[in-house]
Subunit: 460 residues, 2 copies
């Protein structure tokens, strides 16, 4: 048992600095190394001689294939790209427990090879199906039993949620939060944190990983029967407006049924055809020993890495990984409309999306794509006192190498006139929370931003 973890767990008002310090300490306690290797030198991975597709020798984990996409929305387009095909549904699970009546979450300081700082705060369990069924012959996944055995916990939230449709073919993971009343010993890489601590940690750059952010997005700002009341009552200003927006159903600019109808109409008229192609026959993409990339160097490349670690289920491995060419932006424009804070949501079509369209933030700028990007200037030239949140957040370090998005919330003055254009809708946070309870509505970039919203802390 780590003294660091124990001390922090009992420190009710531990500041963000303590969480940073603890993660830093865990980073130093382990030995990690990640280095790029040629794609042909990835142990246990095979390049199919006919298709050029990359796949694991066992046929499990994931593969990298080619995709041809023909879409009619938002404008007619045909394009080709590599895609990560990971049909397995994994588990992103956070174990919760009440300490003196307050819910705490068992967070893990976990190394992922693609993280800019290697170690970030991860869910209690973050495991592909191949991981947790031990396909690679590694060690047991810690705390998995609390998610698999309903006698040892009760479910607070449990939903299949999608991941980046620009890079993954229909990938989804089970996002689950369970509460136990058992005594749980925290392993030295794990630490019990309150929601308030996590919300503060989300203000820091690259501290809370993507998997944690998507799971936390299930916790509504209104609190609720299973969550208890909000940690601290809002002290006016933006925090109070957030809570009011979270409570607002059918008080939005669009009614709840109108939002469903808006999305149904778009799904019924937008068309997307997705066809897998051999990776070695993708127009506009080329391959050399080190990478698969576009002729013009834009968007992303697929590279190979070799990982050495002493803290993972297995000590070392090789894998392909996606390296986007630059930092992206994910941002919500928010505005008080009819007395309630609204979020400008975008219906996005992406090649790997499970159900035609998903709702994303106002701006989701995938590097090298989407030119011009509507509303980008609101974020690039935001007036500082209108910025309600700004942080750099990492995308999943198990599949992406050093891929960061600037996450921003920018509030428009209530007096500005901005009607939602085609493909966009103004929604209250309550309407967003409601859709979040169901599959295939909010995309991972939107969910990550929702997780950053903090109503329990008047300083925001």
């Amino acid at each position: 048992m780590s003294t660091g973890a124990r001390t922090l767990a009992s420190a009710r008002d531990a500041a963000e600095a303590d969480v940073v310090a603890w993660v830093g300490q865990r980073r130093k306690a382990h030995r990690f190394s990640v280095r790029q290797v040629p794609l042909d030198a990835l142990e246990d991975w095979r390049v199919d001689p006919e298709t050029g597709n990359l796949r694991h020798a066992t046929g499990r984990f994931f593969s990298v294939e080619g995709l041809r996409v023909r879409a009619s929305y938002p404008a007619a387009a045909i394009f080709h790209q590599p895609i990560v095909n990971q049909p397995e549904i994994g588990i992103l699970g956070i174990l919760a427990k009440r300490f003196a009546g307050e819910l705490r979450f068992l967070m893990q300081a976990k190394m992922e090879p693609g993280n800019v700082n290697l170690v970030q705060l991860s869910p209690t369990v973050q495991a592909t199906r191949s991981n947790y069924t031990q396909a690679h012959g590694g060690s047991r996944v810690r705390y998995l039993e609390y998610f698999q055995d309903r006698r040892r916990s009760r479910v607070l939230a449990d939903q299949l949620q999608s991941e980046q449709g620009a890079f993954f073919l229909r990938k989804r993971n089970r996002n689950i939060i369970v509460e136990t009343s058992e005594d749980v010993a925290a392993h030295e890489d794990f630490c019990w944190l309150t929601l308030a601590q996590l919300k503060r940690a989300l203000k820091a750059d690259n501290l809370v990983n993507m998997d944690t952010r998507t799971v936390l997005s299930a916790i509504p700002l209104t609190g609720g029967a299973q969550w208890g009341p909000a940690t601290r009552p809002p002290a006016g200003g933006f925090a109070a407006a957030l809570v009011e927006s979270a409570r607002a159903r059918n008080r939005g600019e669009l009614g709840d049924e109108e939002i469903l109808s808006w999305l149904t109409e778009l799904k019924s008229t937008a068309q997307i055809e997705v066809q897998t192609l051999p990776l070695n026959r993708l127009p506009g993409w080329k391959r050399d020993a080190l990478s698969i990339r576009r002729d013009d160097g834009r968007y992303f490349e697929v590279i190979g890495i070799s990982v050495e670690a002493d803290s993972r289920e297995v000590g070392g491995w090789c894998q392909p990984i996606v390296r986007p060419c630059e930092t992206g932006i994910a941002g919500f424009l928010v505005q008080e409309r009819r007395g309630v804070l609204h979020f400008l949501v975008q219906a996005r079509m992406e090649p790997g999306i499970f159900d035609i369209l998903e709702l994303g933030p106002t701006v989701q700028h995938v590097p090298g794509m989407d030119n011009p990007v509507p509303f980008l200037e609101y974020f690039e030239r935001a007036v500082p006192d209108r910025v309600r949140h700004a942080s750099l957040q990492s995308e999943e370090g198990g599949r992406f190498y050093h891929y960061q998005n600037r996450n921003m919330i920018v509030e428009l003055p209530a007096s500005d006139s901005l009607e939602a254009p085609f493909g966009y809708a103004w929604m209250t946070l309550g309407q967003i929370h409601e859709l979040l309870r169901y599959n295939n509505y909010l995309n991972v970039e939107a969910r990550g931003l929702i997780a950053c919203l903090n109503a329990g802390d008047a300083r925001q």
Copy 2:
């Protein structure tokens, strides 16, 4: 303008007999003929010489292909079957309008070649995308403008819903109800009916078609802001229990979050692999001049028909059509549990389902499949005074030839002990209604039964 339609529209309490008479009159007013023809003789359809797949010369409408399915749920199985591939999203739309404050629905007496009685009550608009974009060069789809132009109507319900996963590959249609305040002239094949009239018509065999039933399932028994109050207050007994069940959220045996979690868990662990195969290389299936069918004659066959009609958008056409080998059963067991009526719902995996599993009725007996069928004896040997609904209903007559399902609701005595086995859950009607608002939750067989529930009529 038809006198028949006009008279009926003004007869507030028109009995079921009047609706039957009107549909019968429309049937006589037109000339229809349907005859079986060899698959090779289907004008405008092509048998692919390599695959044996059937497709329209234009590449539109639908195709018949082969499927190989490997599933792990409810038990491990591998099987092969033909499947109808219709990726287009069509419109099933009902136009509503208030007459003296009461909502009426513009229903169509429509011929479909596979209907046992040729003409049934259909939605105002029932059109594939090829139909309504006039791919076949036919005439305009009547009343389509009310569904496409939001200035001419407001949306009451609007959702993508699936169709038979045992026969269709991921087929979905837009189920939409809109209300207009314009004066709308009813063409002679159309008639304004109240919800009470439709509910009574649903007690008759093969009078209300599948497309109408799935659209009507969106109207909750509780009424609501856009629907107005229930037509008549329930007069106790089963009707009152239905309304109470429709109002019950989070009062079910399982909480709302527990139901979502139950389904997420099943989707995360059940596995299905679906692979299209050439139709002429399906193990266990053979083909002769007249049909594609199983060696043992079970399940269904694909045949060809030639249709002559004077009332459709086009006067005559040929098409392949699916003919199941016998009548099926779709039935809900219901029971008062903890003082509220519950429905025993089954999570079903079928080859064409869009998202792994959908919720079906307690028993859904596809002819020739599913042996033995759990709970079948409750319907085959139901005590008459426990049967709350029984009717023969047709599946969609544009794709199925004479395919009927006995639709039944059977109430268990509250004193009977029946725990939901693996893959089943007891849910209140309110919980079912809530899931019905979203995509990909309730299957078409469940929705058809929900539409038959009648709380507005004490005689039920």
